[in-house]
């Protein structure tokens, strides 16, 4: 065997060893299988432990909405999907909810709140980092977290429920338009935009508001470890700066996103520089760019706003 061939064989042996060593290093994190309580074997955790960031930007509704930027999906459906993916990732030890929202519908806020609670129950630490605004429904969601961090002048609070609808009765009278309604029950067209609500309807709606409001207070009492009376005093829809909220016990500390990431790392027992795990796939970036919400002209927006009886209760700061 000549020297060249011998050299080549040595190189090949080195390559083979490096592949084996590489696989060992990649699988290094958990060298043994773990057994769950049910008796089922679990695959070892691969990769590096770290923190995932979930962005909750804009008004929160159930419908999925896309933005130009990857990872910035909005809508409780999309956010819950992301939280569930994170839940399955054993390397994610903590989650930072980056919130910049005035709130949204009660349903969407409650769905995300429940999902965050499940995440915590399964052992992941959750820290909320508020940006400009973290009010109403956004604050509702925050109550599920281990810690709430906001900037000194973040707007938060706005604890309460709102239900608004347009009343075009006078306009229709002026232009001679009359709506004809055939209904099965007297409350069926409650909140209709073509007439003013009757007193009984107002009372019915007020009942809905009061019930949702009590749900909000209970969530704050449970999440913030405050008494019912303490929360009730603050829950008149007032907004607070981050600094004021800290004094009143509505948040845990002042800080920005990097501070929240560090707090999350400390709670999860992660050492060194916190490692951020990106959970969205590269193809999401491409698809998101082609699914932007189209813009409507001003008139269409006005018509839509007045004519659409948004029959949703909202934890929303107006």
């Amino acid at each position: 065997m000549d020297r060249k061939t011998l050299f080549a064989y040595l190189l090949l042996a080195l390559c083979g060893l490096s592949v084996l060593l590489g696989l060992v290093l990649v699988f290094k994190q958990s060298p043994v299988f773990s057994v769950k309580e049910s008796g089922k074997m679990e695959l070892p955790s691969l990769g590096k432990d770290g923190i995932a960031i979930v962005y909750i930007y804009g008004e929160i509704f159930v419908e999925r909405q896309y933005s130009m930027f990857p990872g910035f999906l909005s809508g409780s459906d999309a956010i819950i999907e992301r939280l569930r993916k994170i839940d399955k990732n054993k390397n994610v030890k903590a989650v930072v909810l980056r919130i910049n929202s005035p709130g949204g519908s009660t349903g969407a806020s409650q769905e995300i709140y429940e999902e965050v609670n499940k995440l915590r129950q399964r052992g992941k630490k959750v820290v909320v980092s508020m940006g400009d605004v973290g009010a109403s429904g956004a604050y509702y969601i925050s109550c599920a977290a281990d810690r709430i961090i906001a900037n000194p002048s973040t707007i938060t609070g706005s604890i309460g429920v709102i239900f608004n609808f347009g009343n075009m009765q006078e306009l229709f009278k002026k232009i001679g338009v009359k709506m004809e309604v055939v209904k099965s029950g007297k409350a069926k067209d409650i909140g209709a935009y073509w007439r003013s609500p009757e007193e009984s309807e107002r009372q019915l709606l007020q009942g809905l508001i009061d019930n949702s409001y009590e749900q909000f207070i209970r969530v704050i009492v449970a999440g913030r470890k405050m008494t019912y009376d303490q929360v009730k005093q603050l829950a008149d829809g007032s907004i607070f700066t981050g600094e004021q909220a800290l004094n009143k016990g509505l948040i845990d500390q002042l800080g920005n996103l990097p501070d929240a990431i560090q707090v999350a790392a400390d709670l999860a027992g992660l050492k060194g520089e916190p490692y951020i795990i990106k959970e969205y796939s590269p193809m999401e970036k491409v698809f998101e760019m082609f699914n932007r919400k189209s813009e409507e002209n001003n008139l269409a927006q006005v018509t839509k706003a007045l004519s659409k009886s948004d029959t949703r209760l909202a934890y929303l700061m107006e």
Binding site: A8, Y9, L11, C15, V19, L25, G47
Partner: protein, 195 residues
């Protein structure tokens, strides 16, 4: 041992290695095996150099790896056909099958990537730069092997072989540039008409 001999010859003496490969009893099978091993080594190297969550690691070694092989085979067939078509302009004859076999074997330098990745990772900070530098060298090596295979199959001298190799890339570049210019011109015309 014969296969290892061919692989070692492709690394140290590509001309002889390629000739031995074409004389091997199942050269196409050998070529596919080389592609599979080389792409697996590349996947392992990527996992070593970048930190991924557990979900990505599992998918990259299974579904991702299979997808990579399928994508490469499609690309491999297209490129071989294209080079054969361009080489035929030079009024030379050569076997497209043999070119296909040799192109698969040219991926062999990728087997060094895991070793490079381990070395880079061991160095800590600056590891990505070192890895990228060696990756670039390996890419150049692969390109050189591909030009060599064109020379061997179509009996071209080096200059012609290089021209056959780069014509598709230059053509694609010019097509894209022309499309972009036309797009800009049409956009300007349309904007001008709307005012």
């Amino acid at each position: 041992m014969e296969r290892l001999g061919i692989i070692s010859k492709i690394i140290v003496d590509p001309d002889q290695g390629f000739n031995e490969l074409l004389l091997y009893k199942k050269p196409l099978w050998f070529s596919f095996l080389t592609v599979a091993i080389s792409l697996f080594c590349q996947s392992v190297a990527v996992l070593l150099i970048d930190n991924y969550g557990s979900v990505q690691v599992t998918s990259m070694l299974t579904v991702g790896y299979l997808a990579k092989i399928i994508a490469f085979v499609v690309f491999w067939i297209l490129m071989t056909s294209l080079f054969h078509f361009i080489a035929s302009w030079h009024k030379t004859e050569g076997s497209i099958n043999n070119l296909f076999i040799l192109f698969g074997a040219t991926l062999l330098p990728l087997i060094f990537l895991p070793a490079v990745a381990i070395l880079s990772r061991g160095l800590g900070s600056g590891s990505h730069f070192l890895y990228l530098f060696f990756y670039l060298l390996i890419i150049i090596w692969i390109l050189a092997l591909q030009v060599k295979s064109l020379k061997l199959i179509y009996h071209l001298h080096t200059g012609k072989a290089i021209s056959v190799y780069i014509i598709p890339f230059i053509s694609t570049f010019f097509l894209l540039a022309i499309s972009l210019v036309m797009f800009i011109i049409l956009t300007v015309i349309l904007i001008g008409k709307s005012f």
